[in-house]
């Protein structure tokens, strides 16, 4: 070994949320290895919740100590205002999702047992449970934290993979309809692997142009120019494909419905909320910090993608007969609305406005989504969750409260006033208008209207149709599930009636924009 290497300085306090989550994940693995089977769940559950709470507390502490002005961990991670806000959302949503996961009916007894085989019967009989779910979830959450705050492309890729790999696995662990679940897992894995490959190739090309993987370095190098712009543009395109895949923007949305439908609903709730949040954190960083100087080149493409995403999400949702698929397409459409905000760049004040709008939207949408999926877990019939929409007919008569809450979530998705969705939509549209993206707003409105059509149709189905004779029953919710529904509903109401505190928070987080 030649010479001595300077030990890197690590800001442990700032990075402690990530460290806590990863640490707890590793402890979780050890529990899997050493704790007796019957004890595992009762250790995992408090550990996971405590870790997420602790990480959240340290996030708040980090924010309270004042925002750092430079990147941490030798420039690999940027713990700035947006990062802390995004971390906060991810951690709370993950916490809520864990409450939902704490339900034995959701997960397979033994994932490796072939569906329908005697192995499976035996596993179910002996009361096995795949408790690896908890450490996997923690790893995924840790990956999200890194993904959304990475300040160089390498760290971002590591975050992307650490986030995605556990999710691929988690998708395949549904207790019912296991083949569907496994298919979802394989599809997600293969398509995800392709997108990672795109990201990696794009990264290599951008590195080839700029000679650096640091976002700031890339941004600086763009100004210099080197006569190889084509290389840069193709690299940007590939990076973009990798990232857009993760947020499910059209035409890379195809995995979303298949995966959302096949995955255990609790995992779907986690993916639909936190992954979107983390991925938007990364998208903003790459396109604003690193490729901000290339705006004129990526914006036209992004316009097209945003329009396509909104329209495809809204149109395809109409024909869906499965509630989870419908919510998946709705999530695609919402990703499109959020992209509208990503495009609305301009001067620093405009950027802060757009960023704050996106942050608020993500918080609002995340909670509503988790709540909606929590309701989905409760409507069951003999074969597990009653996913088919026709089974939801007349739910308002059987269980008016649950149907009412679900209708409320749907209205929030549609952006009706006095729900969080309204302020989110308004904030993003206002940012887009002041950023000069009026046509996008018009498309957004049209697709919102189409989306409202299918949300409303579900409401009509629930309240104005007669229940089927052998309709689904409403599972007696576990404490966790009821807490999730209550929390999500409360968040949707509070953000819809008193949005000011969260808006202030988002404004503060966004005021200094991303540190570079």
């Amino acid at each position: 070994m030649n010479g001595t290497i300077q030990a890197p300085t690590i800001e442990y306090a700032l990075l402690s949320p990530m460290l806590i989550v990863f640490g707890a994940a590793i402890i979780g693995v050890l529990i899997e290895a050493f704790a007796p089977r019957y004890l595992r769940k009762s250790i995992h559950m408090p550990l996971t919740l405590l870790a997420l709470l602790g990480a959240f507390a340290t996030t708040i502490l980090g924010a309270a100590n004042g925002l750092p002005t430079s990147a941490s961990a030798m420039g690999a991670v940027a713990v700035d205002g947006p990062a802390l806000f995004v971390w906060g959302i991810i951690l709370i949503l993950a916490f809520v999702s864990v409450l939902l996961i704490n339900d034995d009916e959701q997960f397979v007894a033994q994932a490796a047992a072939v569906p329908g085989s005697s192995d499976e019967e035996e596993a179910v009989r002996s009361g096995y449970a795949q408790t690896e779910v908890y450490p996997l979830l923690l790893f995924a959450v840790g990956g999200m934290l890194l993904f959304s705050s990475a300040n160089d492309l390498l760290a971002m890729f590591v975050g992307l993979e650490v986030m995605s790999l556990p999710l691929y696995l988690l998708c395949g662990l549904a207790r019912r309809r296991r083949l569907l679940s496994q298919e979802a897992s394989v599809k997600y894995f293969l398509l995800g692997a392709f997108s990672s490959a795109f990201f990696l190739y794009g990264m290599a090309l951008v590195y080839g142009y700029t000679g650096t993987v640091s976002l700031r370095g890339i941004g600086d190098a763009l100004g210099a120019g080197s006569g190889q712009e084509t290389l840069l543009l193709i690299g940007t395109a590939m990076l973009g494909v990798g990232l857009l895949f993760k947020i499910g923007a059209a035409p890379f949305q195809a995995w979303k419905p298949d995966v959302y439908q096949g995955a255990p609903t609790a995992v779907t709730a986690l993916m639909a909320s936190t992954v979107l949040v983390a991925a938007f954190g990364a998208v903003l960083r790459v396109f604003w910090v690193a490729l901000g100087g290339l705006e004129w080149n990526w914006q036209p493409v992004m316009w097209g993608i945003a329009i396509l995403t909104m329209v495809v999400g809204a149109i395809l949702a109409i024909t869906q007969t499965d509630i989870k698929r419908m919510l998946a397409y709705s999530s695609v459409a919402h990703a499109g609305f959020l992209l509208t905000g990503v495009i609305a760049t301009g001067a620093a004040a405009q950027n802060a406005k757009a960023l704050s709008a996106i942050l608020f939207y993500l918080a609002a949408y995340g909670f509503t989504t988790v709540g909606a999926f929590a309701v989905v877990t409760m409507v069951r019939d003999a074969g597990g969750e009653a996913g088919h929409l026709s089974r939801w007919a007349g739910l308002g008569k059987r269980s008016p409260f649950l149907a009412g809450v679900f209708a409320f979530f749907l209205l929030a998705f549609a952006g009706i006033p006095l729900t969080s969705g309204f302020f989110g939509k308004y904030a993003v549209f206002a940012a887009a208008v002041s950023g000069g993206a009026v046509p996008l707003v018009v498309v957004g409105v049209v697709s919102s209207a189409i989306a409202a059509f299918f949300y409303v149709r579900v409401i009509v189905l629930m309240f104005f149709n007669d229940p089927a004779a052998d309709g689904p029953s409403i599972a007696v919710p576990t404490v966790g599930t009821s807490a999730v529904v209550a929390l999500a509903a409360a968040a949707t109401v509070v953000l819809g009636v008193f949005p000011q505190p969260v808006l202030d928070l988002a404004d503060q987080a966004a005021s200094a924009l991303f540190i570079r």
């Binding site: 000679g211 193709i234 395809l316 024909t319 208008v433």
Partner: protein
């Protein structure tokens, strides 16, 4: 203002409890909040107190609770609260005592009244939008009150879809207006209207919202469909309050933007069209409620025309018409409700003799219908006169508008007559309809409203003066218009008379006139709506069929096509590269040859039918790559690549034998093969092109040239080896660990049932003569044994092992290393297994895979620790040269130990793969065959 709204909200929340406690009498209590609102409004009007307040709600978004009531708002507030209170009073007797869902209904109705009150008093665009959507939502609950009927559901869905669409369009318009003006306060916006830029688009969007709410063509279809609602709801929402919201918004913004010509022309022409179409359609309806509904559509068109003419006179007429319409239309609806309940039908082909059996009701209806038709001395007449007067003069457009309005008025007169004769007439030959008694509480509200329509007329000029503050905000005076009981202006009077006469004629013409109107059915927007819904549904279905087939290759194709598209876009859109990339085709003759071979495998791959051939082709590309490495002068890489390729091919084959040889016949591919090939070609070109560009982007010296020196100094002549075991030894250690974990993972999936790690030994006495051992225990049935393979296996096994050890030792100085050595050793096991079957493994390598891997990992870690113990840094290498007799100088180094660890780990991995994917699968196959 806020206390009033809170009062409404509280009443709405308490409504279910109240209804449970008091039954339908609860509506009397629920009528209190609107009544309070009415009293407040009157107080504000009489004392002239300005109603204005502002509280912050979400200042970050510029949203505040701003209320401000000018003349127009006060007028609307009077109507909303007054009629609201009366309708609730009416409800207390209209519904039967035990009706289902009455609590919810009452709550929604009061909540709606509150939202409507907020809407007309709001001075903030966003606040207005909030209340706007709330009225939509509550109206939905009210329309869908009768959930059993399919028509009710469809109507509710349609009403909500149309108005939500309009509402969202309006929101976008508001946002654009607000951003352009820098404020969302309506009063400031109207005082200083923004112009240019996005304003025309914003106005178009806002107008879409307003027109959809007020059921103006092309959005008029939802209103008649919404007649599925209970009658009090129709009277309130669809005559007095909600449908007026759109007109109100137009009236509100018209002073500021009336100058914008496209907006005005569009609104006026749509209004006229609606007025005529609605009126004509009312002539054909037999259901009294639907007749009135089309009448309402027609009148809303009329109001739109007046407010968007955007002159002071027209605005005055509009304000008058707004009040008059609310009075007579609400009254008529309530009358229909009574008739419906008392007679059991509201079909005018069945009703007969009500004039005699219900004379008072008839009188009320006549008074209201007369006001509607515009007969003096009713208020409706005064308003209509003012309207005609205000539209006088001006150019051709104005005259055309006037003609349209007169035609519309004639139609109004005709359907008013039709309503009266239909509901109360006694056609010859029809038995009088029996009539049940009706309560005073139901009769009082319509009577009061109808009487007001008559009593207000003498105060018309006072009404006009009260509206002055509003009309004065219009810049264009237009033709002077007066509001009076009898203005005496000759031309309007003449026009009124003409309209009335034409109306009478139209009515007398009966069905013939109505049939003429049927021709207009082609522009029935309801059909357009359903066609649109069906079309969207079909399109969505087809699109889903195209893009969402659940097929992974299809998804990938879309992704690749997009990538190629974006890359092409980047090339075309991006700057022209100054210098073209330098392409060196080849430097050595081997390179093009191998390249062609590689391309050939790629071309062959799509034609391969079976999985195994595909695996072979993929393997071939790997071997080709190894050759290219070799040609480039890196034998180390080439050898590793070659070995790994071989091993993965073995693994492939072992797994693939459990799968069908040829994939199940799938349907004909949707995308023609040629297109797929083209797409593949383009994607390949993009990837390769990007590679070429990347290679050309190099501006620094390659780092590889810098490596030789340090490697030499550290005593390693093989740079790759030095990198792996010295420079980045940490990474290697990590990778080794990952390899172990992965192997264990794969194996444990296969060994799900049997959690044993012992190698399966051949059954005792298995065709083995006592006292003899064989190093190759061929347990295969005689027919499956391959003699040549067995012989070869015997011959090369030990040699291979020797080679592997050789590679391990030479790694530090030349080609080789622990990894390559481990794989070669592993391949020797593969050969034994292939030749001898599953029991052979235990004989060939009696040590368990776990032991090998564990030992390997332990060695590697121990080396790291050794460095730490002696040199301070983990993985620090020590070396010594030993002179060994016969062999010569041997360079010994702890690196060798490290490499040995890797060697053992890799060997263990291969053994584990063979044990799981090979032997265990054999066993499972055997078991299944049995």
């Amino acid at each position: 203002m806020e206390p009033l709204l809170i009062l409404h909200a509280v009443a709405a929340v308490c409504a279910p409890a109240l209804v449970r406690r008091f039954g339908r009498d609860a509506f009397l209590v629920l009528a209190l909040p609107p009544a309070c609102g009415f009293a407040y409004t009157l107080w504000a009007v009489v004392t002239g107190t300005p109603v204005a307040s502002h509280h912050d709600w979400a200042p970050a978004l510029g949203l505040g609770l701003s209320f401000r009531a000018d003349a127009l708002s006060l007028l609307m507030m009077t109507l909303v609260t007054g009629i609201g209170a009366l309708v609730l009073l009416y409800c207390s007797r209209y519904f039967s005592a035990g009706e289902e869902g009455l609590g919810r209904f009452g709550g929604a109705l009061v909540a709606f009244a509150g939202a409507m009150l907020g809407l007309v008093a709001a001075d903030d665009l966003l606040l207005l939008y909030v209340f706007w959507e709330l009225t939509t939502l509550f109206s939905y609950l009210l329309i869908g009150q009768d959930p059993a009927s399919r028509a009710g559901r469809r109507a509710a869905l349609q009403a909500l879809t149309v108005t939500t669409f309009g509402g969202l369009a309006m929101l976008a318009g508001f946002v654009m207006l607000g951003e352009a003006a820098g404020t969302y306060r309506i009063s400031q916006l109207v005082a200083h209207p923004p112009a240019g830029g996005t304003v025309p688009a914003a106005l178009a969007l806002v107008m879409t919202g307003a027109l959809s709410k007020s059921a103006i063509f092309p959005f008029s279809m939802w209103l008649p469909a919404a007649m599925a609602a209970p009658t009090p709801v129709s009277a309130y929402l669809h005559a007095a309050a909600m449908v007026k919201a759109g007109v109100y918004l137009l009236a509100r913004l018209s002073p500021a933007f009336g100058e914008a010509v496209p907006w005005r022309v569009a609104a006026v022409s749509l209004g006229l069209l609606t007025m005529v179409l609605g009126g004509w359609r009312a002539l054909r309806e037999n259901d009294l409620k639907r007749l009135l509904a089309y009448g309402t559509v027609s009148q809303l068109g009329f109001l739109t025309v007046l407010f968007d003419t955007a002159t002071r006179g027209a605005a005055l007429a509009g304000a008058a018409m707004l009040g008059a319409h609310a009075l007579f239309k609400a009254s008529l609806f309530l009358v229909v409700g009574i008739v419906d309940h008392a007679a059991g039908t509201r079909d005018l082909r069945e009703l007969s003799g009500l004039r005699r059996s219900a004379p008072w009701l008839c009188a009320v209806a006549t008074a209201a219908a007369a006001s509607m038709a515009g007969l003096p001395p009713f208020f409706g007449f005064s308003a209509k006169e003012a309207a005609f007067e205000s539209l006088l003069g001006g150019g051709l457009g104005r005259s055309a508008t006037l003609a349209g309005v007169v035609l519309g008025s004639a139609l109004t007169a005709a359907y008013s007559l039709r309503f009266l004769t239909g509901a109360f007439g006694s056609p010859p030959g029809r038995e009088p309809t029996p009539l049940a008694p009706y309560g005073a509480a139901t009769f009082l509200p319509p009577a009061l409203l109808a009487v007001l329509g008559l009593a207000a007329a003498p105060f018309a000029s006072w009404y006009g003066r009260a509206m002055d503050p509003y009309t004065a905000t219009f810049a264009v005076p237009g033709h002077d218009a007066h509001l009076a009981l009898w203005s005496g202006a000759p031309v309007p009077l003449l026009l009124s008379a003409a309209a009335l006469a034409a109306g009478a004629l139209l009515f007398a013409a009966g069905d013939r006139g109505a049939r003429a109107g049927r021709l207009l059915r082609t522009i029935d927007s309801g059909r357009v709506y359903w066609a649109l819904v069906r079309g969207t549904n079909r399109f969505a279905g087809q699109l889903t069929g195209v893009v969402q087939r659940g097929s992974l290759p299809d998804y990938l194709m879309i992704a690749f096509a997009t990538l190629a598209g974006i890359a092409a876009f980047a090339l075309l859109h991006g700057p022209v590269t100054t210098a073209g990339p330098v392409v060196v085709l080849w430097k050595r003759a081997e390179q093009p040859v191998v390249g062609v071979l590689l391309a050939a495998t790629a071309v062959l791959a799509p034609f391969a039918r079976s999985h195994i051939v595909l695996a072979l082709l993929v393997g071939l590309t790997g071997y080709g790559t190894a050759l290219l490495f070799l040609a480039h002068g890196s034998p180390d890489l080439a050898m590793t690549q070659l070995l790994v390729e071989t091993l993965s091919l073995v693994a492939f084959v072992l797994v693939l034998r459990r799968l069908p040889i040829v994939p199940e016949e799938e349907q004909r591919p949707r995308v023609p093969p040629a297109v797929r090939a083209a797409l593949g070609l383009v994607t390949g070109l993009v990837a390769a092109g990007a590679g070429v560009l990347a290679v050309n982007a190099r501006s620094e010296t390659p780092i590889g040239t810098l490596l030789a020196g340090p490697a030499e100094r550290s005593g390693a002549t093989n740079i790759v080896s030095a990198l792996l075991v010295d420079i980045r030894a940490w990474d290697t250690l990590g990778e080794t660990t990952v390899l172990v974990v992965l192997t264990l993972g794969v194996t444990s999936l296969v060994f799900l049932r049997r959690r044993t790690y012992a190698l399966e030994r051949p059954p005792a006495g298995h065709r083995r003569p006592p006292g003899r051992t064989y190093w190759l225990t061929a347990t295969l049935p005689p027919g499956e044994r391959a003699a040549v393979l067995e012989v070869v296996a015997r011959m090369i096994f030990h040699t291979l092992l020797l080679v592997s050890v050789f590679l391990l030792f030479t790694g530090h100085g030349s080609v080789g290393g622990g990894f390559a050595g481990g794989i070669v050793a592993g391949l020797s096991l593969v050969v034994r297994y292939l030749a001898g079957g599953r029991y052979e493994l235990a004989v060939a390598a009696p040590t368990g895979a776990g032991v090998l891997m564990g030992l390997g990992l332990l060695l590697s870690v121990a080396t790291a620790a050794l460095g730490m113990a002696f040199g301070g840094a983990p993985l620090r290498a020590f070396s010594a040269d030993l002179a060994v007799p016969l062999v010569g100088k041997v360079h010994l180094s702890t690196v060798l130990l490290f490499d040995l660890g890797i060697y053992l780990t890799v060997l263990g991995m291969v053994q584990d793969i063979l044990r799981s994917l090979g032997a265990e699968l054999d066993r499972q196959i055997e078991e299944e065959a049995r």
